[in-house]
């Protein structure tokens, strides 16, 4: 039979290690089956471990105070007895099936690790949970998600693929809601987008004047404020644009109020809070409302109430330096206005080519209830006010 190694069994339920508390035998000593060899202390208890064999102690593999992992040798015993049990030997050979318990396999699958590539440490060559986790650390997201030369990964979460070439991030909360809203809207409302290039120079002059106006000292005046006011005035002239398609009832709901949505990029993702009853607000009140909405979005404190029941929306893509685009409607709304970047451009003004502050406007609308003519006049009205804000006096 020869020299056998007695390895630390799991003396409790699911323990992984034990500390040697006291040896009861010494090298050279004869032992019999069930004679206590050693006292070990685990996270749960102090236990005595008996000998599986009758024989002579050859060597102790750990000293008092040592922490020994389950499966590691504790003592070597020369056991001549034929009845001595065989020790568990490691599984070798590539054709052997991989030994791992289902939860461990599930963990490996979740982490994107092929269990066959994991180095087993369990008795009999079983792949343990720890083995899988160790294999996972070898290819940690921190290591793989970073570009060469970067200190840190640009992704803060997710699971890096085993080959390190991609990271999967679960779709959650805002991202999920955004996706659902976009799919719902894009595939139920037939979108049409119309465009208008506008000379904003006078609007920019107005913005400048208002910024110096004492009445607006407590408000932040931006070109967006004037765009918002222009849209409200256009809605006042063409209230049919401020409506909703009720497919179930086969009815169109025309709203007598405007909850003006402003698409906002926040740390949590895209949100569209709205300014309630914006149609009743003075320009000053509208400026304050915009300021509150933006501040809340920045602070991440946008409430569900603020995002509910919008009737028409502005998306200010100009802040990203973009000229224009074809925005997707907020679900349930009939129109969305995209406001592009304001930049000086060569413009024919008074028969001369002059540098003017120019922007692009795009209006997407739900073609089920908004005809091209309606969408076009709404956009045209907005453009007229931005070209000459004084027009607002005529229409308000």
């Amino acid at each position: 039979m020869g020299v056998q190694a007695f390895v630390l069994p799991d003396p409790g339920e699911g323990l992984t290690q034990a500390v040697i508390a006291a040896w009861r035998v010494a090298p050279g000593e004869d032992v019999t089956v069930n004679q206590v060899l050693v006292e070990v202390e685990t996270a749960k208890s102090l236990v005595e471990l008996p000998s599986p064999w009758t024989g002579k102690v050859v060597a102790l593999a750990a000293a008092v105070g040592d922490t020994v992992p389950v499966g590691a040798p504790l003592i070597h015993i020369d056991a001549p007895d034929d009845a001595a049990l065989p020790t568990a030997t490691g599984v070798d050979g590539a054709h052997k099936p991989v030994l791992a318990k289902p939860p461990v396999r599930a963990l490996a699958k979740h982490l994107g690790i092929d269990v066959a590539t994991v180095r087993p440490s369990g008795p009999g060559g079983i792949v343990t949970r720890e083995d899988v986790l160790a294999a996972n650390v070898e290819q940690s997201p921190g290591h793989l998600a970073a570009y060469p030369g970067d200190d840190a990964p640009w992704l803060t979460g997710g699971t890096v693929a085993r080959d390190g070439r991609s990271t999967r991030v679960p779709v959650r909360s805002v991202r999920r809601r955004t996706a659902e809203a976009m799919v719902t809207s894009a595939f139920t409302a037939p979108h049409v987008t119309v465009f208008r290039t506008v000379d904003m120079t006078r609007t920019m002059e107005l913005v400048k004047r208002l910024r110096e106006d004492r009445e607006f000292a407590d408000a932040r005046v931006t070109p967006l404020l004037i765009v918002a006011k222009a849209l409200l005035l256009a809605v006042r002239r063409h209230p049919e644009i401020n409506a909703s398609w009720d497919d179930e009832a086969q009815e169109i709901i025309y709203k007598h109020y405007v909850n003006l949505g402003i698409a906002a990029q926040t740390a949590r993702g895209l949100m569209v809070p709205n300014i309630k009853d914006a149609h009743r607000l003075t320009l000053h009140e509208l400026a304050l409302g915009l300021g509150e909405l933006t501040a809340a979005a920045r602070a991440g404190s946008t409430t569900a109430h603020a995002m509910a029941d919008g009737t028409i929306t502005i998306t200010n893509i100009g802040v990203f330096g973009i000229d224009t685009g074809t925005p997707i409607l907020s679900p349930g709304e009939a129109a969305i206005l995209a406001f592009g970047a304001v930049e000086p451009r060569p413009w024919v003004h008074g028969g001369q080519v002059e540098p003017r502050d120019v922007t692009e406007l795009a209006l997407s609308f739900d073609h089920r209830l908004v005809d091209g003519a309606l969408g076009s006049v709404v956009l045209s009205d907005v453009a007229r006010i931005l070209t000459d804000p004084a027009q607002g006096l005529v229409w308000s």
Binding site: V7, P9, N34, P50, P52, P97, P123
Partner: protein
């Protein structure tokens, strides 16, 4: 209002092994009188064997050969004494610590370790031995036992006066008595007047919770509100356990309904091998109970009446050691469980869905080369 803690406790053998039948009720006395020295030696032999098997299994667990072991050290009299009261037709429902009951029913101890080695879920033919397999859900089997006993009522297998009348003996502990489903079991047992005896081994500790923390009155009185009579016995006295259980089983068989027997004993070992009782109970308590060792008590009595001497005691001890070694060898020879067994033991007869799953497994095994 106060209920108090005062119920008489039947003791037939005192800690010195002296026998007195004075405290026994007439029904109990009748059964005590049937005991011959040969019966007592048989009980003692099983108790010694139980202790040897228990110690060997604990060692096997410490050597990594069993996943877990629940020792019955200190409860041998409660288990073997009560099991001795079972008639051949009676049915026993053990929890997971009733090694003495299992041995008393003639089951090979090697069958017990199969469960604790993770080889199968049971280990013996429950119907053949009239002894259910272990249930690890605390108190779960009490419902099974009552259901079985209700079946006896519904099929007329109790109260006929014929020797085929049967009763059920279900083993539970103080901890199980705090389980909601055990209360339900008591309701059904009483409602159906089912022939079932609840043998409560009050060993003082529900893992680390002392009995007094969850039972303000003796378990022998727990049945009062259910109209189930109760009897408290010294659980370290094999004869008291036998007498009270035998009387209760006889009543049950005769159609007089359920009963509770509370055996006050002590779990001298940890709850299981994964437990360390030094963290919650003091050594003085363990020393106190060590002086009430149930095996030693019966041995003193047997020596006192001349039924056992040094040589026969040594022979019984040696034979028990042999049984334990045979169990050890059988345990170490156990191969890994076969997947096919999983399908084979779901239903008694062939079942369409299980057969389909078994076939699917077999084909998977071929394609994946899994064991």
């Amino acid at each position: 209002m106060s209920l108090g803690d005062h119920v008489p406790t039947l003791q037939v053998l005192d800690p010195g092994g002296q026998r007195t039948d004075a405290g026994a009720l007439p029904g109990e006395l009748r059964h005590l009188r049937t005991l011959t020295p040969a019966h007592l030696i048989a009980m003692y032999r099983i108790m010694v064997r139980t202790r040897a098997v228990d110690a060997e299994a604990t060692a096997l667990q410490r050597r990594g050969e069993l996943g877990l072991w629940a020792s019955c050290l200190g409860q041998e009299a409660a288990q073997v004494g009560s099991a001795h009261a079972l008639a051949p037709a009676d049915y026993a429902f053990p929890s997971y610590r009733e090694h003495g009951v299992v041995l008393a029913r003639g089951i090979d101890p090697a069958a017990i370790v199969r469960l604790f080695r993770g080889v199968d879920h049971g280990g013996w033919d429950a119907a053949a031995h009239r002894c259910h397999t272990y249930t690890l859900v605390v108190g779960g089997h009490v419902l099974h036992a009552v259901g079985y006993a209700m079946g006896a009522v519904l099929t007329g297998r109790d109260g006929t006066g014929a020797p085929t009348d049967e009763a059920v003996l279900v083993y539970l502990g103080d901890g199980a008595m705090a389980q909601g489903h055990v209360a339900e079991a008591l309701v059904f047992a009483a409602s159906y007047q089912a022939p079932v005896v609840f043998f409560v081994q009050n060993n003082g500790w529900a893992i680390s919770t002392p009995t007094r923390a969850h039972a303000r009155a003796p378990f022998a009185r727990r049945g009062e509100g259910f109209a189930i009579p109760g009897r408290r016995v010294d659980g370290n006295d094999a004869l008291a356990c036998f007498a009270a259980t035998a009387a209760a089983l006889a009543d049950a068989r005769a159609g007089r309904g359920p009963a509770i027997v509370e055996a006050v004993t002590y779990r001298m070992a940890p709850h299981t091998t994964a437990d360390d009782p030094t963290r919650y109970r003091d050594a003085a308590e363990e020393r106190r109970w060590a002086t009430r060792d149930p095996v030693a008590r019966l041995e003193k009595h047997l020596r006192g009446i001349g039924a056992v001497d040094d040589s026969s005691a040594a022979q019984i001890g040696a034979e028990a050691a042999e049984v334990a070694i045979r169990m050890r060898d059988a345990c170490l020879a156990l191969g890994p469980p076969q997947m096919e067994d999983l399908f084979a033991r779901v239903y008694a007869t062939e079942h369409q869905q299980v057969s389909a799953e078994s076939a699917a497994w077999a084909s998977r095994r071929v394609s994946h080369g899994a064991r």
